[in-house]
């Protein structure tokens, strides 16, 4: 299911097999919240060499509904994407987006952020929903502990997350969908260690680090990522949830992590912040008004091959719909090229060289 092809210190290059195809790791997963990576078509995603996308269980459960998607043939068919899909468990959105949450050992009750309607996710239900969606990789239901939670709360929450993980594992019996466990434990080393010990004792197909990038400093994030990564089994895929900036991703790869997702490239694209081989640029700046050069001369995406910075600035400033797509296509291409080059660097035993090169591009990140 997962093969490590090469390693350069902690960094690994591997192949993860799923029902809808193989994924070369390390990999970045563009976020397709509601059965669409915002503004991009499946063809755009293929053009960007996307290998796997992420779907949000919470959003899809609410709209259009997981049972509807099941009845229509599953998420792949519904959105016309025939590559691999990972779905989260819905937990993160329940804890960050939904209202009136009530957590019990049974599960979590919440109100929809759309219409206030009441819903309940048990660990079993999170799996059933993801089975309806038919994703290639499912995630267990967990509590993503809010930043600032104290030791006692975090320890109690960790126990619930472990109990839920067991119930998810027990209820999932098909072999078409992989199931990943999630380590929590907040910002306490002993609790991270405890969570990792408990979760890795359950036989999952991969293991994720949850609860990072929730408001802590960059130093704390890196500290707990580096602390937790080696606690995960070496021969299983490791996934750092919701991270991050280009440098953060390379820090993760350097710590031995294989999979990443983040809304950053897509959301920033819609805000006019674009990633290039020369660093980040804000396309709305006056200095690009007459700039005939491509957004990134080293990029081969449709945006960079066909349009000038001056045109992209014009589209952005006038809020033309095309701006969102061209910018998103480029940023997604950039992130996918980043992990592709990281993989090549690992295979060539030159990862650190690549890591420092990118780190120099983003002195403020």
């Amino acid at each position: 299911m997962f093969q490590i092809q090469a390693a350069d210190k902690q960094a690994r290059a591997g192949i993860l097999k799923t029902t809808h195809g193989e994924i070369l790791t390390p990999i970045f997963m563009p976020v397709g919240t509601r059965a669409s990576v915002k503004s991009l078509s499946p063809q755009d995603l293929k053009d960007a060499q996307t290998q796997i996308i992420l779907g949000n269980t919470y959003h899809l459960y609410l709209r259009p509904g997981d049972e509807l998607i099941r009845d229509l043939g599953g998420l792949h068919s519904f959105m016309s994407w025939n590559g691999p899909i990972l779905t989260d468990s819905g937990g993160f959105q329940v804890f960050s987006l939904a209202k009136l949450r009530k957590i019990t050992p049974d599960g979590v009750e919440f109100s929809s952020h759309i219409d206030g309607s009441k819903h309940f996710f048990s660990p079993e239900k999170a799996i059933f929903i993801q089975q309806n969606l038919g994703s290639d990789i499912m995630m267990v239901l967990d509590e993503c502990v809010p930043y600032g939670a104290d030791y006692d709360y975090t320890r109690a929450s960790l126990a619930i997350t472990t109990a839920w993980a067991k119930r998810c594992r027990e209820v999932h019996t098909n072999h078409k969908q992989l199931l990943f466990g999630i380590v929590q434990g907040g910002f306490f080393e002993d609790l991270r260690e405890e969570s990792a010990k408990q979760i890795t004792q359950i036989p999952f197909d991969g293991y994720a680090i949850g609860g990072l990038s929730v408001g802590e400093s960059k130093e704390e994030m890196l500290k707990f990522m580096n602390f937790t990564a080696p606690l995960l089994p070496y021969n299983k895929p490791r996934y750092l949830m919701g991270v991050g900036k280009p440098v953060d991703i390379l820090e993760g790869i350097r710590a031995g992590i294989d999979m990443f997702d983040c809304v950053l490239p897509t959301r920033n694209a819609r805000n006019g912040t674009l990633y290039t081989s020369e660093g980040k640029i804000n396309i709305k700046r006056e200095k690009y008004k007459k700039d005939l050069s491509p957004l990134d001369p080293e990029c081969n995406c449709y945006t960079c091959k066909n349009f000038s910075r001056a045109y992209l600035r014009h589209l952005y400033v006038t809020k033309e719909l095309l701006a969102y797509r061209l910018n998103t296509l480029h940023n997604v291409t950039y992130f996918l090229n980043l992990v592709k080059k990281a993989r090549e660097a690992i295979l060539a035993s030159k990862f650190d060289e690549f890591y420092f090169k990118i780190k120099n591009l983003y002195p403020e990140d």
Copy 2:
């Protein structure tokens, strides 16, 4: 420059040669207001078999500015569209969108709808701006008389429009850009006749009917279109500005008109109203929630080949950016197929048959 290849009663099939390529007529021109057909890339336009697009001089003059576009190599290069482009004169938007208009025989003073800044379009300036844009077909500056204007106002306006047309003709000397005149005259037959007589005496490369589709009833629109079309030279391209619905376009073709533009397919796409071989549908309707059929089984566009009505409804209801593009791509494809089939019907001397078939599809239009 313009060759009529076949005629079926008044309807004609022709070829119009421009600097950026030949256009097979009758043709529909998607509207690319601000150097972008909203939500579509140039590749999308090619996929829809777009032959010529329309750019709005008023909008481009304000943002990003015609001199900037000239300095950057012209509108084609700026927006990466290498097919023909027609630009209007800016007059229509000045009279419908700008504020504090003051018309004198010299030209029209107006305030920008964006920032209130003051501007002045003389007939010469309208041409200079379009020369900066570098369009293939330019339009003369005219006054689009508002619906309800009385006889005396309309007669006085007509005289100004004719004087402006002459000045546009005199100041335009390059041979790379064609220049079309515009017949006005409101809703008075003798004034339409007078305007047509005056305008057609000026040697333009084509002639347009302006001042229709400005608030009048469908009957009036058709009456004045049918009255004015035969007053235009037979062997020059005829353009009905700002029209219209599929049936209106066929009425125009039936009256001997060759060129059409309208925001209808693009604007309606963004409102969820989609044109199909079975008539108009509103994709947000509950009845499409589980509809696995393509939007239009007879259409070969990317949208119809890859997605179900259920998915398109989901994207539309959740306001996903992809909805606007997929819907627009389809509607533009529909309008271009419509005029393509009209052309084939003319070449086969079966235009009326086609006309009645489409008319039956839209009983309420």
